[in-house]
Amino acid sequence: MSDWVEACDAGDIDEEDVMRFDHGGRTFAIYRSPDDDYFATDGLCTHEKVHLADGLVMDDIIECPKHNGRFNYKTGAARGAPVCVNLRTYPVKVDAGKVLIQIG
């Protein structure tokens, strides 16, 4: 369970923004919140498999770039039509300027 993977430098993501990270055939979205914390979720929207890294981050919400499905990226909770399935989240830590995510 302790398989922490280095995703990017902390400075690679702007505040209140998102970046794509691919690892081991899987794809993730890494977020930096307005209050400067980091989060990670599965990369693809649960509605139509569109990558969320092209979406817009506003406060705690990531919005799918295609159909405006919304999730709370801190908890993965779906926030209304057209999405109804929650997004999987992953533990994140910042260590020596690197963002690490724990891929279970």
Binding site: H51, D54, L56, P65, N68, A81
Partner: protein, 409 residues
């Protein structure tokens, strides 16, 4: 006892409204009536993925289990025949009668028919899943597909048909494709993509005759050219389904006329989605009718709130999208409200046009690019439009100024 809520039309709009009524805590009867045999489903894939997937399937908005779990009664394969406003009842084609406290008309739109003689079995329209399957059966290498109308549906179909190896000719009566609602600069990019993929696009070509013998179609153009095809798909727009409302003497004005709260001329009857025209607050109450997925969804949810007495006015900015080949086009607002244009390049050939009104207010933004390259900025533009912002043209045009920073201004 509550007579309950009745929704006529089980598409995106009606389906969303039914779900929203339950999400809002309404516990009376909810009945959703649709004339197709399917669960409520999303239509946008019909001209896109459903055309190229090996096993096309409907993308249901809610499963039978979800509808049952929410006690939403879904009556399918049945048409609503008549509304008795005084009695608060709707009579259905199977002879049954539903009573309502509030009624929502989400009857959608239907393809505009080509008003010509000569159309037969090989001239088809696309609206339903059944239509999509019938078209798909003809999309294969060597088959010739003629598409009448260079709008979104026709062009998305053209892209799908090329992907499956069919030969495609698009016939557009106007001088360019996407005349309605899409700026010329963006239509040019889409046009170029189709030509590069081998689509033959004929613009400025009226049709003088159609001869369909049941196994092939011959289309004679006004200029004399003849196009032969195994199938002709006609995509020349849609008309609102208003018959039921008109017979009930509700006001019709380019669709079922509703106010900003989606009331028809009868306070207990609402209309939403493609079938209605409504005052668009963001443009000073200009009456419009939108044929758009997101509008259907938003108005379905708004109608549900107002059926329960919320009294909320529609405030959304129109939003449309289209996918063709690897390109995605997104538009927020109605670009015909604009007087001047500022262009922002995003790299990789992606760009956004910002449409400004005479007073400098941002009224629309249209973008095109690979993948979802324009999505985030179009979304931000949509918020700026909603705020009636007057961003400086220099900031809009400069890649180094983040659009998000203009929201705070």
């Amino acid at each position: 006892m509550a007579r309950g809520m009745v929704i006529i039309g089980a598409g995106e709009c009606g389906g969303r409204a039914a779900l929203a009524l339950r999400d809002l805590g309404y516990d009376g009867p909810v009945t959703l009536v649709g004339d197709e045999p399917h669960l409520p489903y999303e239509r946008p894939p019909l001209s896109k993925d459903a055309m190229v997937d090996d096993l096309p399937a409907i993308k249901a908005i809610a499963s039978d289990e979800i509808l049952a779990g929410k006690s939403i009664r879904h009556i399918h394969s049945v048409q609503a025949k008549a509304i008795d406003r005084a009695a608060h009842t709707v009579r259905l084609s199977d002879g049954s009668v539903l009573t309502y406290d509030k009624l929502l008309l989400a009857t959608g739109s239907t393809p505009r028919r080509l008003p010509m003689p000569g159309l037969g079995a090989r001239c088809v329209y696309l609206r339903t899943f059944a239509d999509a399957l019938a078209i798909r059966a003809h999309l294969r290498p060597g088959n010739r597909i003629a598409i009448v109308g260079g709008g979104f549906i026709g062009l998305e179909l053209a892209a799908a048909a090329r992907k499956l190896g069919a030969e495609v000719t698009v016939i557009e009566a106007q001088r360019r494709i996407l005349m309605r609602g899409v700026p010329a600069e963006i239509a040019e990019v889409i046009h170029g993509a189709h030509v590069a993929e081998g689509v033959n696009i004929l613009c400025g070509e009226g049709i003088s005759a159609i001869d369909d013998n049941g196994s092939r179609v011959r289309i004679t153009l006004a200029g004399g050219l003849e196009v032969s095809a195994d199938l002709a798909v006609i995509g020349i727009g849609a008309v609102p389904v208003t018959g039921l409302a008109a017979e009930a003497s509700l006001t019709i004005d380019n669709g079922i006329a509703v106010d900003a709260k989606l009331h028809t001329s009868d306070p207990d009857i609402f209309a939403a989605g493609d079938c209605c025209s409504f005052p668009l607050a963001v443009y000073g109450g200009r009456r419009v009718r939108l044929e758009a997925w997101r509008n259907a969804q938003e108005q379905g949810a708004l109608a549900a709130r107002n059926m329960l007495g919320a009294g909320e006015s529609h405030a959304a900015v129109p939003w449309f999208w289209s996918d063709q080949y690897g390109l995605s086009l997104q538009i927020a607002g109605l670009s015909d409200e604009g007087h001047s244009v500022v262009r922002r390049d995003l790299g990789d050939g992606a760009f956004i046009l910002f449409h400004l009104a005479g007073d400098g207010r941002l009224v629309a933004a249209s973008g095109v690019g690979p993948g979802n390259a324009v999505a985030r900025d179009i979304r931000l533009a949509e918020m700026l439009i909603g705020k009636r912002a007057m961003p400086s043209p220099d900031a809009l045009g400069s890649q180094t100024v983040k659009l998000k920073s203009l929201l705070a201004a």
